[in-house]
Amino acid sequence: MFFSKSDKLLFYSTLPLIVGVLGILLILSYMILSQSWPSFQRFGFAVLTTSAWSPSDDPQREFYGLAAPIASSLYVSILSVLVSLPISICLTLTLIEILPKYLGAPLRYVTEVMGGLPTVIYGLWGSTTLAPFLRDQVMKPLHDYLGFIPLFSCRPLTGHSMLAASITLAVATTPYVTALLIEGYYLIPSKYKEGAYSLGATDYEAYKIMMGILKPYVIAASLLGFSRALSETTIVALTVGNSMKLSLCLFDPAYTIPSLIANQFESARLYEYALPTLFAGALTLLLISLAASYAGIRLVYGWRERIHV
C-alpha cells in the first residue's frame, strides 16, 4: 500500500486527527445522551409524546413534554422544503440551461451571496419585514376567505408564525439545495439531453426528462435541506413566535426544538428536570438530523454510481 517513507509519515500524522475528530463526535453523542438521561428516567418516553412545559421549584411537581416542539419542528421544516424545492429546481434550470452566461453569472453570484449570508440577518429581516408583510398580504386574506380550512383557521396576530418561519427558512436554504441540484445536474451524461432533443422534444420537455433522471438526487437534496432547516436555530427563534402550542394552523406561533432550547436554556438551569429535558430534545434533533443527512448522502452516492455505468 505505502510507496515511501513520507507517505507513511503522512498516514501517521493524519490518523490521530481523524481518530480525534471521530472521538469528538462520539463524546458529543455520549454527553448529550448522558445529560438527557435524568429526564428519560423521570418521565420515560412520555417526554416525547406529551406536550407540557411546567417548571416548578419542587422537582416532584415539574412536568415536561416535547411533543409540540418536535411536531412543529417537523412541520416547519417540511413546509420550508416544499417552498424551497420548486424554487431550487427553477433556479437550477434557469442558471444552467435557460439564461445566457452574461445574465446567468450575476444571478449565480447573488444566490451564492444569499447562501452564505449570516442566518441572524435572515432572522431579523424575517421577523421585522417579512412577517408583517405576510400577515397583511397573505395571512389575513387567506383567513378571511378560506378560514374554514384548518390550515388557515386561526387569526394571525403578530405575523410571527410557523408560516413566516418556514418561508424565511426556505429563502435561507434555497441556495444550498440549488447548489446540490446544480452539482447533480452536471453529472448527468449528455447523451440523455441529446436523445431528448433528437426525438424532437421542446426545451421544457427535455428539462422534464433531465429532472426525471435527477429524481433520486432531488429527493436527496430535499432530505439534506430538511436536515438543515430542522437544525436551524437563529432564523426560527426570531420568526416562529415562540409559544408552547400544538397546532396545525399555519398562522399560529409555535416552538421548534432549537428555538425552545435557545429560549429556555438560561432559565432551565434553575430547575432539576428542565435542562435534561432540553438535552432530550437535542438528542431527538441530533438523531433525526443525522438520519436525514445520512439517507440523503446514501442516495447521492448510489445515484452517482448508477449514472456512470
Binding site: 513520507s6 463526535l25 433556479l91 434557469t94 442566518t119 437544525s231 436554556f265
Partner: protein, 284 residues
Amino acid sequence: MYRSMTSRKVRNYIMVIVMVAVSFLYVTPLISIIYTAVERGGAVLVETGLKFLTDLPPTPLSTSVGGIAPALIGSLLASALAILITTPIAFLMAFYVTEFPRHSLSRVCEVVVRAFSGVPSIVVSMFIYSTVVMSMGTQSLLAGSLALAIVTLPYTYVYFTSAFRSIPESLREAAMSLGMNRVRALIHVYVGVLRRSLLTGLLMSYVRAFGDTAPLLFTMGFLMNAVFAGVLQQSNAVPLMIFVYALSPYENFHRVAWGATLVLLIIYLALFTVSRVLVRGVKL
C-alpha cells in the same frame, strides 16, 4: 397522448418564462434585506458615526445607542481562533483523502466529516457548554471558538478537498516524474499552484465562523462592560448581539441590532467579494 406542435410550443414558452420569473423573484429577499439594513441600520450609524464601532453597548434605559465594540472584538478574535484550530486539521485530512481516495482511512474520514455537518449547531453549543464551560466554570471566548471550530470544520474540509481535487493530473505526474514524493509535491508544487483557492477556502471559513450565532449561544457569554476581558473570560459576538437584542423588548436595543446588522452585512459582502476575486484569478 398526442399534443399538437403549437400547444407544445406555447407550453414550452410559458414554462420557461415561469422558471426565469421564479428565479429572478427569488432575488427580491436579498434586495429587501439590503434595503432594510441600510435604511434602519444606516440611521443608527449616521447618528453615532465611528463611535458605534468603539463604544460599549447601552443599558436598557440609556438614551444613547452606544456601540458594539466588545462584540466586534469578540467576533474577530473567536473566528480567527476557530480557523486557527480547524485549518491544519482540515488541510491534512483533505490532502490525505484526495491522495488516497480508496484507502479505508479516507472512507472513515469522509463519513465522519459528513456526520459532523449533520450535527445541529445548537447541539454543538450545548455540548461545549456541558464540557468546556462546566469545567472552566465560566463561559469564555475560548469555549465560543471551540464551538465555532466544530461547526466550521466540515466547511473548511469541503473547500480544501475541492481545491486539492482541482490539481490537473499533468501537474501531479510532472511532480512525481521529478522524483518527488507526495509531501514534497504538496510543499513545492501544490501549495504554490493552489494558493489562491486555499486562501479562498480559508477566507470563506472565516466568514462562516464570523456570521454564525447558534454555536455561541451558551458558550461565549455576553460581555457588555468592557471591550475585551481575556481569552478565558466572557466575550461577545456581533451575530449573538443582534440575536439577543432583536428578541429583547427595548426599542433602543432594536436600533443597536440594526446598526450591528448593517456592519455585519458590510463585513460579509466585503469578504465574500474578495474571496470571489481571488477565485477568478485561478486558471489551471
